[in-house]
């Protein structure tokens, strides 16, 4: 048999399909159901589909995507075991947005039109979320952000978009008193060129005003080597450098700052120093790093939050990080809305969600409704802390609270 290009290619594709099937669905943009087998208890009504659209492969932040996936699976398992949502079994479907706006938008379109999703969850990169917002607006389906920080997410005031988590100008506003407390007069921001990075840097400039000088140095979000940028920052002699990125450079910049002899105080733009791989990858270069977070021991978890933490630890052997609490709350927001509306129709849920009220993991959840601002369909109960890791290998639990002073 003559071996043609067509045959060779077909064989390659078949092998590829087989290997991918054997390996599981990770990295695939095809939604896969993870609904647990509790339909007998919950199956009196038609199942309801929750779409979890998140980065599960490169170039997206798939480390966070894996954490998001875990929360979705745990919530679905628990909810279905308890009878589902208002008698509806939950089918959780995963979509890999790869951190790409176009892929994320098409995932949402597919989730709504093909899989009849009643809500979109797990969205991560702000740039992707912004692209997805137009799709949910067109189809009138709720979308829940929790750690997409761009102001625009709720700032566009789309009735379908809700956020249970912080946003850039809110975080930046909290940075201002911290910068003042620390006495920093000159602050450099190493910002990735995304809605998050640039948005944060601009919001910080606005929030700090004349209290300190803010110099922004942008870099391509996917860059791994930022030594040239850091060398340039070094010549500015800043008191502190804020590293605002969610990609590979988050950890790398910490090491590379020490490499180029940058002595300024390093501040992570978010709480990635509490992630499992921080110390393994950064080593002693990470000692004394400061990071903002939304969790501290002084933050009292509600009974819902305590139950979630226990269940998560039992299932995965580690404590959840704060963004996972917020994600848990978004899933419960949809549950509450379905129970209140007695409907899984997305349009009904969009109408119902602004007026819901329930116990979240860290406090009562309601949505603010200030038109023309990011505080629209936005939970305002976020508490922000600034922590410092003072020894190599230290966990977030043992970090020193710098702000607010107790």
């Amino acid at each position: 048999m003559k071996f043609s290009m067509r045959h060779g290619f077909a064989v390659t594709l078949l092998i590829g399909a087989f290997i991918l099937a054997a390996c599981g669905s990770s990295g695939s943009s095809t939604g896969t159901s993870s609904g647990s087998s509790t339909s007998a208890e919950a199956g009196a009504k038609d199942p309801v589909t929750f779409a979890l659209v998140t980065p599960l492969s490169e170039p997206g932040d798939y480390r966070s995507g894996e954490l998001i996936q875990k929360v979705g699976e745990l919530w679905t398992k628990q909810t279905n075991a308890a009878g589902g949502v208002d008698g509806h079994k939950v089918n959780l479907k995963f979509y890999d947005d790869q951190g790409k706006p176009a892929v994320g938008a098409s995932d949402v379109e597919r989730a709504i039109t093909q899989d009849k999703a009643s809500g979109i969850f797990g969205v991560w990169h702000s740039s992707v979320t912004v692209a997805q917002m137009n799709v949910v607006h067109r189809y009138n389906v709720p979308l829940f952000a929790f750690y997409s920080w761009a102001d625009q997410v709720t700032g566009d005031n789309l009735p379908q978009v809700f956020r249970i988590g912080p946003y850039n100008s809110q975080i930046a506003a909290n940075f201002a008193p911290f910068i003042k407390q620390q006495g920093y007069k000159k602050v450099a921001v190493l910002a990735e060129d995304t809605d998050y990075g640039i948005g944060f840097a601009e919001a910080l400039k606005k929030a700090v005003g004349t209290e300190a000088t803010i110099d922004v140095t942008q870099f391509p979000a996917q860059s791994e080597d930022v030594t040239a940028q850091l060398s340039k920052i070094k010549t500015q002699n800043p008191d502190a450098v804020i590293i605002a990125t969610v990609y590979a450079a988050s950890n790398l910049a910490v090491r590379q700052a020490k490499e180029v002899g940058l002595d300024a105080q390093l501040i992570a733009g978010w709480d990635y120093p509490t992630s499992a791989d921080f110390w393994k990858t950064v080593g002693k270069a990470g000692v004394d790093i400061i990071y903002p977070t939304f969790y501290d021991k002084s933050l009292a978890l509600t009974p819902t939050g305590q139950d979630f933490a226990k269940a998560y630890e039992a299932a995965y052997g580690s404590n959840p990080v704060i963004m996972q609490y917020f994600l848990w709350d978004t899933l419960n927001a949809q549950k509450t809305a379905i129970e209140k509306a007695k409907s899984t129709d997305p349009a009904e849920l969009v109408k119902t969600l602004p007026s819901i009220e329930f116990e979240g993991t860290t406090g009562k959840i309601t949505f603010a409704n200030e038109k023309g601002t990011p505080a629209f369909n936005q939970w305002m109960g976020v508490k922000q802390f600034f922590m410092q890791l003072t020894a190599e290998g230290q966990s977030g639990e043992d970090a020193t609270l710098l702000f607010p002073k107790q």
């Binding site: 290009m5 599981g24 894996e66 870099f219 791994e224 080597d225 060398s231 791989d277």
Partner: protein, 294 residues
């Protein structure tokens, strides 16, 4: 002035590693006249092998380099033997297109399997020389960066020696100059291609391993290798191994200078701009020839 010196040093040190990574791509193109899109993925597998061989085992980090070469080389050799057999059998009407598609699919497969198998965690290899070297106020670089550069140049020199001073190198060069003539003279094209694929993937794996104490290893790390490698070989001229050293250093330098003095937001774009400019002036690359030669 201090910043200029620092920028030049950083650019050259990074450029040396780019050159090593690109050398493998150039070798494969020179010998087989095909573009290997799985080059970066093979490098990533080799770097993971080095990581697992040295992390928490007490084995010195530098011994990870031969491990990476062997692992990357084995994957490269197997790819040539299994996936490219139809090309060597001369049974394809469009072998170039077949290789592009087949290696692209292979790259996706390796990437997907690596995400599932290794997870998304960034892994940090033990350093070769874990000191930050500060030469007065002029230059501040990591000892790991210096070791990586020296090792990369050494490996590149070794490859050039093989190409120009051994029978294997002579056979490779014969293939690049006249494939049919080399076959008629009795050279085993499949076997020589296998050696080229193995050497190319092995060197790329070594290059990526040299970078892992600086940049970490994770499933997606091969993508960056592939992108930089392509820019270097196109600037240098496809198939010109000697030229990739110049191309690699030039890319490192242009990226660093552009980032520092033009805009820090377009680091990767400077390489592509240079590539486009070079292609307009030298369509075959600076050292490329119309009749290809290593």
């Amino acid at each position: 002035m201090h910043l200029l010196v620092q920028t030049i040093v950083l650019g050259l040190l990074t450029g040396g590693i780019y050159a090593l990574i690109a050398a493998g791509l150039s070798l494969v193109f020179g010998v087989l006249r095909v573009v290997n899109f799985a080059h970066g993925a093979m490098a990533m597998l080799g770097a993971f092998a080095a990581y697992f061989a040295t992390a928490n085992t007490g084995v010195p980090a530098l011994l990870g380099i031969p491990v990476a070469i062997l692992a990357g080389g084995a994957v490269g050799y197997a790819t040539n033997a299994l996936l490219l057999r139809p090309v060597h059998q001369g049974k394809l009407q469009h072998p170039g297109e077949y290789v592009v598609i087949a290696t692209f699919v292979l790259m996706q497969l390796i990437l997907g399997a690596a995400i599932v198998g290794f997870g998304g965690t960034y892994r940090h290899s033990a350093g070769f020389w874990d000191s930050n070297l500060h030469i007065s106020d002029w230059v501040a670089v990591s000892g790991n960066r210096v070791v990586a550069f020296v090792a990369a140049i050494g490996l590149l020199a070794g490859l050039l020696w093989v190409v120009y001073h051994t029978d294997l190198g002579r056979a490779w060069r014969a293939l690049t100059q006249n494939r049919l003539g080399a076959q008629v003279s009795g050279l085993d094209v499949g076997r020589l291609s296998g050696y080229a694929f193995a050497a190319g993937a092995g060197l790329a794996a070594a290059g990526l391993t040299l970078m892992t104490p600086l940049f970490f290893v994770y499933p997606g790390s091969g993508s960056i290798v592939l992108m930089k490698g392509f820019v270097v070989v196109i600037v240098a001229g496809l198939g010109s191994i000697g030229g990739v050293l110049i191309g690699g250093l030039a890319l490192g330098l242009v990226e660093a200078l552009g980032t520092t003095y033009i805009s820090s937001a377009y680091t990767d774009a400077y390489g592509f701009l240079i590539m486009i400019a070079i292609m307009m002036i030298y369509p075959l690359g600076i050292f490329g020839r119309s009749t290809r030669a290593l």
